[in-house]
């Protein structure tokens, strides 16, 4: 007795049903192709979003470094702190950000400079896209005037809506970064913020 035949017949209910199994794999394949295509699109979408966010983060990092550089390096020898310098710092951050482009999307990184020369630290609105403020020990305060140049910081938060190239509609990508002036190294540096406020 062929044990394989017995097993097949027992498992499949006899030769009649075994014959019906011919072509079953093709049917399953046809049924699974749409699911596989959607799964593939999802994988591509997640990867694309990850890459887009990395690009946005690099652009925002560059922008805050530019803002902190202009604001921080103005003191004490280059004219000190003034509304004019703060406007220039915000403009530098804005220009640097808009000089980047997210590949794979048509989105341009044009944001408002949020400049209000009559406001504290020139912050027209808080929360806002580009903020200047006081940074000390991981705390960023947009409403506090930095007592020394080393505590001058620029913070930028950007949210961009991009169209998915894989047919999943629009997606929102965000990035935030903060940089402060380091008078010892004589350059702006990226810093980690644990708490941010408008006060």
């Amino acid at each position: 007795m062929n044990s394989s035949r017995n097993c097949n017949e027992a498992a499949c209910g006899g030769l009649g049903q075994t014959r019906q199994r011919r072509g079953v794999a093709i049917v399953w394949l046809l049924a699974c192709i749409p699911v596989a295509i959607v799964a593939l699109q999802l994988v591509l979408e997640i990867g694309w979003l990850h890459r887009t966010r990395s690009e946005l983060q690099v652009a925002v990092d560059s922008a805050v470094l530019a803002g902190a550089r202009v604001w921080g390096s103005s003191s004490p020898d280059a004219g000190g702190d003034s509304a004019l310098i703060r406007t220039a710092a915000k403009l530098a951050a804005q220009e640097t950000l808009s000089a980047h482009r997210l590949s794979g999307t048509a989105a341009l990184l044009g944001v408002a400079s949020n400049d209000g020369p009559a406001q504290v630290n020139n912050n027209l609105a808080c929360p806002g896209t580009i903020l200047l403020g006081d940074y000390v020990s991981g705390v960023f305060s947009a409403g506090a005037v930095p007592p020394i140049a080393d505590r001058r910081a620029c913070r930028c938060s950007v949210t961009v809506t991009v169209s998915s190239p894989f047919g999943f509609g629009s997606r929102t990508v965000s990035a935030t970064s903060t940089a402060s002036w380091d008078s010892v190294a004589v350059r702006a540096k990226l810093v980690t913020v644990s708490s941010s406020s408008c006060l």
Binding site: V24, A25, I26, H50, S54, D61, S62, A99, V186, R187
Partner: protein, 172 residues
């Protein structure tokens, strides 16, 4: 001993096995194509992320140097970019990697190292007192070209990134 019933059953068995093999032959390449597409995209994503990081490191290196023309900045930027690739475990040769440095710190200049993979003609305007570093790497150099089996080779494509940094060097 010969038995007609047994011979018929054996024919059915062998025919069923043949159908299974035929189905396998049809299904496996399609399933493999999906799998390789996912793997290839993952490798391209990894490669492009490394290119972005290399461009970022290169721009960072250029921005902290004293104000100078692009040709003066280029050797240090190339060293920083290659070091970044090496640290990430990627072996990128000069013939597959292009580095473009543009500087507006003391003049408006541009310098390039490597083959002409990418032309920065469509780039956005570079802000004043800034540097822009573009890194382009041929795809398939840092990762396997799995989809070439199916006629979708990535060998002629390339990944590139541009990063702009404002001058952040000595206050001279």
């Amino acid at each position: 001993m010969f038995s007609p019933r047994k011979a018929t059953t054996q024919n059915r068995e062998s025919h069923r096995v043949g159908v299974c093999v035929l189905e396998l032959i049809i299904v496996v390449p399609i399933v493999m194509m999906f799998l390789l597409a996912v793997v290839t995209f993952g490798l391209i994503l990894s490669e492009s992320t490394q290119v972005l990081q290399a461009a970022n490191i290169g721009a960072q290196q250029a921005s902290v140097q004293a104000r100078s023309s692009a040709s003066s900045l280029l050797p240090q930027v190339v060293t920083a970019v290659d070091s970044q690739f090496a640290a990430a475990g990627f072996s990128v040769s000069d013939s597959n990697r292009q580095v473009i440095v543009e500087s507006s710190t003391i003049d408006s200049s541009i310098a390039s190292a490597g083959p002409g993979l990418y032309s920065p003609a469509d780039a956005l305007a570079i802000p004043a007192d800034s540097v822009r570093v573009t890194v382009a790497v041929r795809l398939g150099v840092m990762s396997e070209d799995f989809m070439a089996t199916y006629g979708f080779s990535i060998a002629n494509g390339y990944a590139f990134y541009r990063v702009v940094k404002k001058y952040n060097g000595p206050s001279i």
